[in-house]
C-alpha cells in the first residue's frame, strides 16, 4: 500500500506486536475460550497485514472465512466441551514440554538465521528486471479473478468438490 514510510512502519510494529502477543495467548492461556479469542485477534491482525501488502482479496477472504467461519466453528467446539475439567489442568511443565520448547526454539533460530543470511536485494533486483513494468490498470481482485478463471481453472473446480465432500463427511460424522 502506498502509505508514507513512518505510518507504514508504525502499523507493521503494531500488528506485529498483536501477532506476537496473540500467538503466546493461544498457546499459554489455560482457559480455552480465552485462547480462542486470542486466535481471533491473530487472524484479524493477519488480515490487516494482507491489506498492507496490497492483497485486498486475500484480506477479505481471510476475514470472511477464517475469522467469520473457522474461528466461530472453533468457539462452538470449545463451548460444546465440558468446561469443568479444564481448571484442574494447570500447565504442568513436563519433560516433554521442555524438549519440545528446545526443538521449537532451534527451528525458530535456524529459520531466522536463514532469513537474515539471504541476500534479498539481489533476488529483488533480478526478478524486478524480469517483470514488465506496466501500469496498474487492473486491480488486485480482478487479476486474481482472471487467473482463477483461466490458468487455475482446474484447481478451482476441484477445490469446490473437496469442500462439498468435506462438508458431507463432517455432517455424517457429527450426526450420530
Amino acid at each position: 500500500m502506498d502509505l508514507p514510510g513512518p505510518i507504514h512502519d508504525f502499523l507493521l510494529v503494531f500488528l506485529g506486536s498483536g501477532l506476537i502477543l496473540g500467538g503466546l495467548g493461544v498457546v499459554l492461556l489455560t482457559n480455552p475460550i480465552y485462547s480462542a479469542f486470542s486466535l481471533g485477534l491473530v487472524l484479524v491482525c493477519i488480515s490487516l497485514f494482507y491489506i498492507l501488502s496490497n492483497s485486498h482479496f486475500v484480506a477479505a477472504a481471510q476475514l470472511l472465512i477464517y475469522v467469520g467461519a473457522i474461528n466461530v466453528l472453533i468457539l462452538f467446539a470449545v463451548m460444546f466441551m465440558n468446561g469443568s475439567e479444564y481448571y484442574k489442568d494447570f500447565n504442568l511443565w513436563t519433560i516433554g514440554n521442555g524438549l519440545t520448547s528446545l526443538v521449537c526454539t532451534s527451528i525458530l533460530v535456524s529459520l531466522i538465521t536463514t532469513i537474515l543470511d539471504t541476500s534479498w536485494y539481489g533476488i529483488i533486483w533480478t526478478t524486478r528486471s524480469n517483470q514488465i513494468i506496466e501500469q496498474d490498470l487492473i486491480s488486485n481482485s480482478q487479476q486474481i479473478g482472471i487467473h482463477l478463471a483461466t490458468d487455475f481453472f482446474f484447481p478451482f473446480e476441484f477445490i469446490s468438490i473437496i469442500l462439498l465432500v468435506a462438508l458431507i463427511g463432517a455432517i455424517a460424522m457429527a450426526r450420530q
Binding site: 493461544v26 480455552p32 497485514f49
Partner: protein, 101 residues
C-alpha cells in the same frame, strides 16, 4: 528490510504453532495451533507474491486454496472432536488408547 521482518514474524508464528500443537492436552487447542501454522505459511506466500510477483500473483492464489483447505479441515476436525467427546466424555489427547475397545 520490510521483507525480513515479515518473514521473521511468520517463522515465529510457525514455531509457536508447532510448540502448541505438540504440547497441548486439549484437542481443540491443537486445532487452534494448526490454524496458526497454516496462517504463518499464508503470510509467507502473500508476502512473496507481493514482493516478487506483482504481475501474476501466484502466491495469492495458492494462499486462497490454503484457506479453503483449512476451512474443510477445521470442519472435519471439529466433527471428529465432537464425536470423540460424545463417546468418551473427555477430550484429553493423552488417552491414546481410543482404538483399543
Amino acid at each position: 528490510m520490510m521483507l525480513k521482518h515479515i518473514l521473521v514474524l511468520s517463522a515465529y508464528l510457525f514455531s509457536i504453532g508447532i510448540y502448541g500443537l505438540i504440547t497441548s492436552r486439549n484437542m481443540v487447542r491443537a486445532l487452534m495451533c494448526l490454524e496458526l501454522i497454516l496462517n504463518a505459511v499464508n503470510i509467507n506466500f502473500v508476502t512473496f507474491s507481493d514482493f516478487f510477483d506483482s504481475r501474476q500473483l501466484k502466491g495469492n492464489i495458492f494462499s486462497i486454496f490454503v484457506i479453503a483447505i483449512a476451512a474443510a479441515e477445521a470442519a472435519i476436525g471439529s466433527a471428529i472432536v465432537s464425536s470423540i467427546y460424545r463417546n468418551r466424555k473427555s477430550t484429553r489427547i493423552n488417552q491414546s488408547t481410543l482404538l483399543n475397545k
